[in-house]
Symmetry: C2
Subunit: 218 residues, 2 copies
């Protein structure tokens, strides 16, 4: 039913843009509901009776959503208009309650940025963003910075320098390309909060050999 490109990286979808919009309108609110429920699962102080009744509702919701479900990972889909989506991605997946989700903005000069809210589920040190969550978000933003519709890259190396704790709440990220030799792209990026940058990163992103077209123009 579907073909794929880039060595199978993208899965070709028969969905029209309108159908993708419709599906997102249906399921993104479910992920948002689950994000809120995740915060309650951490902090709730109700008793056994309320929890027991809540779990009955969660089981009923799972029964309804599970009546028809793709069990394989969502992958990276794209359709005939060139639209692409990654509903289950751990960082940007809009249908994935594990993801904050982050949205990466691309600017005319090739730089990137993002702004998002990190709530209680992203904690490491008390009241602070987990250092590994900063690494997770930076890796994703830097990968987007290094890649394009014409160039698919994978993380080769990543160096992170933690300069100060980052409080939970509103955070920002910024990335830019510092060199691009064709198959190897070096990117720098930062994540920070109201007090300035908290983690500085440099990464080498590599175009995998399997994504290079036989005519060599990718």
């Amino acid at each position: 039913m579907s073909t794929s490109t880039y060595g199978g990286f993208f899965e070709a979808s028969d969905l029209t843009d309108a159908e993708v919009d419709e599906i997102e309108a249906r399921f993104v609110p479910v992920a948002d509901d689950l994000r809120r429920l995740g915060t309650l699962a951490i902090g709730s102080e109700v008793g056994d009776d309320e929890v027991s009744r809540a779990r009955e509702h969660l089981a009923a919701a799972a029964d309804l959503l599970g009546r028809k479900c793709r069990e394989t990972p969502s992958g990276v889909q794209h359709n005939a208009t060139g639209r692409s989506w990654q509903w289950g991605n751990a960082v940007i997946g809009r249908r994935n309650p594990v993801a904050p989700p982050m949205t990466v903005e691309r600017h005319a000069d090739g730089s990137t940025s993002a702004a998002l809210f990190l709530g209680n589920g992203y904690e490491g040190p008390p009241t602070m963003v987990h250092g590994g969550v900063s690494a997770l978000l930076l890796d994703h933003l830097m990968g987007v910075t290094a890649s394009s519709m014409k160039k698919l890259t994978m993380t080769g190396t990543l160096q992170l320098r933690y300069t100060r704790p980052l409080p939970l709440g509103d955070v920002w990220l910024a990335g830019r390309i510092v060199s691009d030799t064709g198959r190897k792209v070096t990117v720098t990026a930062e994540i920070g909060g109201a007090d300035g940058a908290a983690v500085e990163a440099e990464g080498l992103f590599i175009v995998p050999s399997w994504s290079v077209a036989p005519d060599g123009d990718r």
Copy 2:
């Protein structure tokens, strides 16, 4: 009502071990329910009617759990017996559906290890673990490796080398200390799957000045 130690890092709790066990028995299954629901939110293909009814159940569950809820992050709690817990931690938080959750084993020689299942919500490249998720888990395991009851450390620098893609599913991690100069601990670690290591990491973990007791023995 509570005091704190280590410059506020730990929050002293009045809960007994039995009370902590009781609370975990009540809420960890809620987080597990939400982990399953997260996978369904990504992959479900049911229609508007089922989703609408599922969302009513999710709202009812949120109402029940939210009747009494701590809104501040869960932090790192410890009680009089020396037990400590981090219910909301992004990696190990047992009440946090964002967390897989990982459990780190400490071995007699100071090394550490972990084994866990990463499902569809941790995806980056299609069917593969997000490179940033590997960074997240490694950062946490390495921080545990560097720290102890006598020494609290924070990530200083982290270098990651990605050697092969890591499929979603069962993964393992292993870490060890390679040098410890008192205030600075160097740790190496790997994450991999059935095919061997996929990401190699080296990190420098630092004892923050605010955690050093005035008598200098920390």
